[in-house]
Each structure stands twice: as structure tokens, then as C-alpha cells.
Symmetry: C2
Subunit: 200 residues, 2 copies
DNA sequence: GTCTATACAGCGATAGAC
DNA sequence: GTCTATCGCTGTATAGAC
């Protein structure tokens, strides 16, 4: 690991632990045993470290996407991919838990994050539409409710790291992956509901 | 409004607007036209201002509670009381949006907030139990799912101010009061579902 | 209660030597 | 690439006069 990578790794660790507003370039530097001047050689300022970490998050999320279109709608696949995404988010949790602080410093991150979520919303809508087509969802679900389900989904994936503090379940990625699925249960046909419950 | 109240009002305004980490005692003082020294006469430090504001939130939430037990389970009452609670939360939004920052500075607030939510969970469970007793909920809802609904409720009320940023609906208290109710819809009997939808 | 003045610490960032 | 040294600024908090 070169110095630049060390800075990013330690920065991530400290931001997650102590919060963006409490971590200084001095802390990061001293923790990995380099001088503050050296750190500033690699990153001109703190914001650039945060930005690089955010790029790391985006990269990992992109890398985790599945594209084998045949399998992409299978519930087991969706759940598994959800868990993986949640684990990635968890490792960059300061970007979500301290999102307001980060956004105030770097409005560009806010824009990208919202764009990402907008895209996720489209993806989930197409998955739900697929389930409706295959008769997995109840017949009496209106489009309004489908849209509401998509909103619920965005709500969950954007805020589960915040909510986990209140719910006292810890940052359990798999708990909230299951949680996301459980929100859909009452919309399923009775038959499918049983199958899904067995999976969860 | 005396000086102490002015400090609190301006503090709330600035914390909501610029974030706890960016607002200084100097800002608050100069904004209301007093000296920083004077401010520190009334509040020894920034944390005490935050603490006093948190007490204000708790006080307002307590004052908004209904106790006329006959009406307390009517869905219209519950929705209305939800909206009022959400409006109060919205006026103290920095305590929720920047909850991590606040909690790091004042761990005592974290404890009280979690205790508050735990109590809300009990309240909502008793409301749901009442609905189950009256046959408003579907018969086939298991206890696990009831507990899940309560968790969903806590998730929503704790994190809606965070999520509203991602969902792009603004901090609309009434939107999320309705949102909370809509989560229950698929658990209702068909008959009740229609009545509820008319209300929302 | 309110003011001015000031002490003090910590942060971000840069300069210049090696 | 890495170091030491240092500047300028901002934030919290206190002292002492009115």
C-alpha cells in the first residue's frame, strides 16, 4: 500500500469512527506515521480525501452490479445483491450517516448521490414491474402503490444506516437487506408470500 | 423576548440552516446584535445551547401528546397527531438530520432520543394491537409482522428528515405522516383499506 | 446584563530544506 | 516524497470594566 492509499484507508477509518468534523489532516497523518506536510503533498486538502473516498464508493457499487439479465430478477439474486450493496455502503458509512456534513462541504457529492438513488429507483421499479407481470404480486396493487413501494425502497437504502442507530440492531447489513424485502411481503400473493418468508 | 430566548431562537435557526459544525457562538451573537461575551454569560458554551434546544423539542413533543383515551385510537386522530409531531420535529430538524454530529458532542442526547423512540414503539404497538382486536387488520398477520411494522414505524419517524433529501419531496411533514400510514395499508382488510385510502 | 479585550488551542495550508 | 517550521485564521472561553 503506497502512501496515498494509506491516507485513504486511514481517512475512511477515522471518518467512520469519529465523524468528518472531528478528523483533521493532522490526525490522519499522525495515525499512519507521516507528517502533515507529506499528507498535503498527496491531497491538497481534506475535501479531496473525502471526494476520493466517495469515488471509491461509487466504483465499488458499480463493480457490484449484475448484468446477466436472465437471473437478474430472481428473488435470491436480488436479495444477495442487496446484501452486497449494503455491505459496501456500511464500509463507507460516514458518507450516509454524516451525509449532511459531507454535502455541506461538497455539494457535488449530494448531486451524485441523489442521481444514484434516482437510478436505483428506476431499477427497482423495473424489478417490481417484472414481478407484477409474472403474477407474483397481488392483482389489486395500484400504480400509486407501486410508486409508493419504490419510494419506500429509496427511503430504506438511503437511511438504513441512520435508522440502525435508533432501532438498536447495529449496522447489520443483512438485517436491513431482509428488512427491505419484508416491506414487499404484504404485496405478494399468498403463495409467493410463503416462499419469500422461507427465504428470509 | 429576552436575550436568552433570542439566543435560542437564533441558534435554532442557524443550526437548521448551516449545520451545527459551522455555527459558532460568534455567529449567533452577532446575528442578534449582542457581544460574544454576553452570549457566554447566558450559555457557558455551544453545547449548552444545543442541550436547551433539545429540551425544547422534548417539551413540545410532550405537550402535543393526547390523552383522551376514547378518541386516541381513531385513525383520523392518529394521523393528525402524527402530523403535529412531524411539524415539531421539522422545526428542530438539525437534531435529526445532523443527529450523529449532535450525538458525538452530547452523548446524553443520544440516550434520551433512543429512549423516546423506544417509548413511541410501545405506543404504536398498542395502537396496532387495538386495530387487530377490532378486526381492522387482516387476520393472517403474524406477531413477527406486527413487530416488523413497529420497526418500520420507528425507522420512518426517526429518519424521514434524512430521507426527504433523497426522495426530493422536501421536508414535507404531512407527506411523511401520510407515508407512515400508507405503510400499513396492505395489512388492512380490504374494507378498511378503502376507508383509509379515502382519508389519505 | 452587557461590553471590550484577550488568552489559548486547533485547524488548514504553505514554504523551503533534504 | 518526505520532513520541519510556521503563518493566518477561526473557534471556545475567560477577565475585568461599566
Amino acid at each position: 500500500m503506497n502512501t496515498k492509499e494509506k491516507i485513504l484507508a486511514e481517512g475512511l477509518k477515522l471518518f467512520n469512527k469519529d465523524g468528518v468534523e472531528n478528523v483533521t489532516t493532522r490526525h490522519i497523518a499522525s495515525e499512519i506515521g507521516i507528517s502533515q506536510g507529506n499528507l498535503h503533498y498527496h491531497f491538497p486538502n481534506k475535501n479531496e480525501i473525502i471526494l476520493a473516498l466517495f469515488d471509491g464508493l461509487m466504483e465499488q457499487l458499480m463493480a457490484a452490479r449484475r448484468h446477466n439479465s436472465a437471473e437478474v430478477f430472481r428473488k435470491e439474486e436480488v436479495l444477495e445483491s442487496m446484501k452486497q450493496n449494503f455491505l459496501i455502503m456500511q464500509s463507507y458509512r460516514f458518507l450516509f450517516k454524516d451525509n449532511e456534513v459531507v454535502w455541506r462541504r461538497l455539494p457535488a457529492i449530494r448531486k451524485k448521490m441523489i442521481a444514484l438513488l434516482d437510478q436505483k429507483k428506476l431499477e427497482i421499479k423495473s424489478i417490481i414491474a417484472e414481478y407484477v407481470r409474472h403474477g407474483i404480486f397481488r392483482e389489486d396493487i395500484s400504480q400509486v402503490q407501486i410508486d409508493f413501494l419504490a419510494d419506500q425502497f429509496i427511503f430504506t437504502i438511503s437511511s438504513w444506516l441512520t435508522a440502525s442507530e435508533y432501532l438498536g440492531v447495529g449496522n447489520k447489513a443483512s438485517y436491513f437487506a431482509v428488512y427491505t424485502f419484508r416491506q414487499w411481503l404484504p404485496y405478494l400473493t399468498q403463495d409467493e408470500m410463503k416462499k419469500w418468508e422461507e427465504m428470509l
